[in-house]
Symmetry: C2
Subunit: 375 residues, 2 copies
């Protein structure tokens, strides 16, 4: 029987995620499935929680991977903490800020947004003025906007939100594991991320963490969480305590994967991992400049792991992406929303973020843009 | 670095799920991750849809795996089809009927339930009388109640629901891939299942299917689906059509897993698979009787893949389960709700459903119950 598994050749994943997966993580995914209440699995869950706290920079007890991809993590944070009519402020400078707005609006929150240009960071002064105007229950921002490659000053914004009664929510889907994330130091109450970016695990889980203040809001809700699958009041009874109450069957093998990848990151050392991301990014920016390509985002606000590159005039951008994949086994990403057709998004995430991968991409780009060979 | 992967020895999974996973599926999980918009991945998605339609017994175009475990599938069906105030009838004879009631109530539906004793099937006559009393938008039932091991007459109930305007929803989490499921023949409009039961893939995906009538209800909603992550109006734009609109990053490697396991099932032949489940079940019931153990459910309503066994007086049921796992690498399940402490749940699901596995369990049970060796 031909299963078609031969179609799945190793591809250099340099898009906005998924990223390349290290061999040890593939091996972990293929380890024997055991039961979700097996004592050995409960030990693994505890280790995953411990490792996540280290990487997220938090001591929060309620720290665990949600059984869905990054957007399920976003949904989890909002649906557990927002009740109808709650005033919520969302800081928008790309697709994922927009998505948070959509999620919160569907939950019938009283949603205000502050909009910033795509390709620019959120401006703390503007946030400060808005916080002086109105009281919010929740303020939400994206640390690393995957749609533009911009880093927003989440620590500074956290200082402002901390002066109010609002809970502070930060999306670290793209930043976690690739640059410093310091949940507690930022004054952040709620965080979600994903596995398929700098954590270098296939997509399927979303780490979330809630501070004690966030847990207090959760447990004092006036209404049941309107989403059974993502109701943390029930999920924590499975993840915590002596009596493990079955909620839904945990995605066992995916949890092996995140467990392994978190171990790899901690073993390499967070500072080494971040430095590897920065070096690969610098090498990429220099190499692109040699090819005559420039970056969308100003140097000060650039993410190391997501690089938005302006597409030169006259280039059929979709054809270049198609040829990179077909001829070189390299995937890069297209622009989203107003940046569609204007930028490529080049990911240097997790296991992908290595100089030799950057060199391979630059050589392939040179060929496909039909530029003369490098001196 | 010790990763602790050695803790994960092969275990004979005879609980209520997860079930044993065939080697080919483990191998599929470990194949190289590719992008969620890679043309090779789009082909795999189409093949998964095609295979799911065969196994679910439907021609429904909208047939795909949701990126979450079985309960996410339940949530998907209700959140997409139920609007506040919609009259919904739920037929309850165990935990999963109760769970559907909770899910629908959180969505502010006008929920009525018909309750049947745990360990007994839903009675069509009772349903018929209720349908004559009130008009419903949706009627929901569990085909194979995992909490009790009971099979309900879903085809007969479908005939009754079809005489009304209601959509008909059937949970096949435990039955799919282990006994005949005939969505279209049953007059079923909405179905969800899970991967970790008779499909023998690790937990993490939930196949769902919607009939044209269900899609018509979905697309004529007066309100947005109040759950961004599970909003099928957006998810289908990624799964269908020439332009694939990114919604969330699909759980790539889990989809390799379901793709492989569906291929295995179709290659073995559905009739052969069902017959293997029935034989293992018959062997188990006979062997349990030899040990002096009897079944909770009357013969006519027993599921082949989930066997609720009455616990003999004087036996410490938790100790027996613990010893089966520690001394024999065999997992069986505890009772839930009113059946906690009263039954064991022995799963014969998918790859687990083989005579030699039944023999291994019976021998281990004989030892742990300290019965004399078999003649």
């Amino acid at each position: 029987m031909s299963t078609g598994l031969d179609r799945l050749s190793e591809t250099l994943l340099m898009g906005p995620g998924p990223s390349c997966v290290p061999p040890a993580v593939y091996q972990a995914l293929a380890r024997p499935t055991i039961g979700h209440l097996d004592p050995r699995f409960l030990d693994i869950m505890a280790e995953v929680q411990h490792l996540l706290r280290q990487i997220m920079g938090t001591g929060n007890r309620l720290t665990l991977p949600i059984s869905g991809t990054g957007s399920a993590g976003m949904e989890t944070c909002f649906v557990n903490l927002v009740e109808p009519g709650d005033p919520v402020l969302i800081l928008v400078n790309g697709v994922f800020g927009q998505r948070m707005t959509d999620v919160a609006t569907r939950l019938r929150a009283d949603v205000d947004t502050l909009e910033f240009p795509w390709g620019k960071p959120v401006v703390p002064d503007t946030v400060h003025q808005q916080l002086a105007r109105k009281s919010y229950r929740l303020v939400a921002v994206v640390h690393a906007e995957t749609s533009t490659g911009v880093c927003s000053p989440v620590a500074e914004i956290g200082g402002l939100v901390r002066q109010t009664e609002a809970l502070y929510l930060v999306d670290t889907v793209t930043s976690l594991g690739g640059m410093p994330v310091a949940m507690d130091d930022w004054g952040c109450d709620v965080m979600y991320s994903g596995t398929q970016k700098c954590l270098s695990c296939p997509p399927g889980l979303s780490p979330v963490s809630f501070s004690e203040r966030a847990v207090a809001k959760l447990t004092s809700r006036g209404t049941k969480v309107p989403n059974w699958y993502l109701d943390l009041t029930m999920i924590i009874k499975y993840w915590e305590g002596a009596t493990r109450v079955y909620h839904h069957t945990a995605p066992i093998n995916m949890i092996y994967g995140i467990w392994q990848t978190l171990q790899c990151i901690v073993a390499e050392g967070l500072e080494n991992v971040f430095s590897r991301h920065r070096s690969a990014h610098e090498r990429l920016v220099t190499g692109l400049a040699d090819l005559g390509l420039d970056m969308l985002v100003d140097r000060d606000f650039r993410l190391p792991m997501l690089n938005a590159v302006n597409i030169p005039a006259g280039v059929d951008e979709a054809q270049v992406r198609k040829r990179l994949l077909a001829n070189h086994d390299i995937e890069i990403g297209a622009g989203l929303g107003p940046l569609a057709g204007k930028v490529w998004r080049i990911g240097l995430m997790g296991h992908t973020a290595r100089s030799h991968n950057v060199a391979r991409l630059l050589a392939a780009l040179r060929t496909e843009l039909a530029l003369p060979a490098s001196k």
